[in-house]
């Protein structure tokens, strides 16, 4: 296993970890806004890490470019859809859940 491979492996594992975190957030968070928060941020980071990991593994500029494109498109889609969903929820009158002891 070369150094590049190990770096790639670490990146991939890290990416998976981010995905895991995002998914747990999706399942556990109390309302739409929090879930979006978890998804949009954690998953995109995870995607980024995985793409970079794969690019290193492939060691090919062309593939790396396509992977970059994949990441960009994913980012774009996530951004816009998160925005739209939040916006729709807001205009539909969903109030963010206020749980925990911070506010009564």
């Amino acid at each position: 296993m070369t150094i590049a491979d190990s770096i790639a492996l670490i990146l991939l594992l890290a990416g998976c970890a981010f995905y895991l975190a995002g998914t747990i957030g999706l399942l556990r968070f109390p309302d739409v806004y929090c879930r979006l928060h978890a998804l949009a941020k954690a998953d995109n980071t995870g995607l980024c890490l995985i793409c970079v990991g794969l690019a290193i593994l492939s060691a090919d500029w062309q593939v790396a470019a396509i992977l970059a494109l994949v990441w960009l498109v994913g980012l774009l889609a996530a951004t816009v859809s998160a925005h739209l969903i939040a916006r729709h929820a807001h205009s539909a009158g969903r109030v963010p859940a206020r749980s925990g002891p911070s506010r009564r």
Binding site: A77, V80, H83, L84, H88
Partner: protein, 313 residues
């Protein structure tokens, strides 16, 4: 070993998703699970050494079907928000035994088919042998367009028939404005479209071109293009219309018509029926089919007879 673990993972999720899509508490969740099931299927195809199917499943099976189900669901809840509580489930005492028996039958058949002595797959072998002379690299495209082109011709006819049948049963009175989002347009959507639409067109053309040599083809490309159209419908750029539009209708049929006419033409110079006269014909037909498939799917989604441009924002 890892492969086998991956297979197991895919299979477990397939089964779990299938159960969930049928038994989920709400219909909406059922649809979600069904769409994800399509994605899992696509992974399964990849594992089964069928990249073309994986792509088709992702684009058509999961993507298009999912979108169609979502929009149908939306129309349903407009009529009756509570879809299921009033329904009485059919009597089902025998359901479990029947299901078990059916599953067991399929399992036994499948296992026997795997264990059966490998027969020389004559047709498949012939395809691989003859592929070289055609200039195509993807044997599946070869089968679909050259060797068994008539299947494909009829297949797009089936798609057309489904569209016509669907249009026949779609009530024309309440052709909806309601498809589009009620939210006021945001600049973000415009920005997204400005990037995504050219990109999807590019991708579908790439898929089309790739289909000749490697994974891809008219159906996958058409589905991707259809996704672009669905996006345009959803964001209000394209609207359902009742008016007859020669452009839309021509687009709808260009695939079938090209295929038929190019297929009939060889008869004029003594060649066999449907013997496509060269690679250009394949690419021409595939492009035309892509357009037709995309339009058909978009029309199915919009539940409309035709489309028109809408000025928006």
């Amino acid at each position: 070993m890892i492969g086998l673990a991956l297979d197991l993972l895919i299979i477990v999720s397939l089964i779990g998703l299938a159960i969930q899509s049928i038994n989920a508490a709400s219909l909406f969740r059922g649809i979600l699970h069904f769409v994800v099931l399509g994605l899992a299927m696509s992974l399964a195809w990849a594992r089964l050494d069928a990249p073309d199917l994986a792509m088709a499943e992702a684009a058509i099976g999961a993507g298009v079907t999912g979108a169609l189900m979502m929009i149908a669901y939306r129309r349903l809840i407009e009529i009756q928000p509570d879809q299921e509580s009033s329904l009485r489930p059919p009597p089902s005492r025998l359901a479990v035994p029947i299901a078990l028996a059916a599953g067991a039958l399929v399992g036994v058949i499948g296992l026997a088919a795997i264990q059966a002595e490998p027969m020389p797959a004559l047709a498949g072998t012939a395809v691989l042998e003859n592929l070289g002379s055609t200039g195509l690299g993807n044997p599946i495209t070869g089968v679909l367009l050259l060797f068994r082109g008539f299947d494909t011709l009829l297949e797009i006819t089936v798609l057309l028939a489904a569209l016509l049948s669907a249009q026949a049963v779609t009530r024309q009175v309440d052709l909806d404005q309601s498809l589009t989002t009620q939210d006021p347009d945001t600049p973000l959507v415009g920005a997204l479209l400005a990037i995504v639409v050219p990109l999807t067109v590019l991708v579908s053309v790439h898929l089309l071109k790739a289909g000749g040599q490697e994974t891809g083809g008219a159906f996958q490309a058409g589905a991707v293009l259809a996704a672009c159209g669905v996006l345009l419908v959803l964001t209000g750029r394209l609207g359902a219309s009742r008016q007859y539009s020669p452009l839309v209708n021509t687009g709808l049929l260009v695939g079938l018509l090209s295929f038929i006419l190019i297929g009939l033409a060889p008869l004029l110079w003594g060649q066999p029926l449907l013997a496509l006269p060269g690679l250009w014909a394949i690419y021409w037909i595939e492009s035309a089919m892509m357009i037709s498939i995309a339009l058909t799917l978009v029309l199915l989604f919009a539940g409309a007879g035709s489309l028109k441009r809408r000025d928006h924002g």
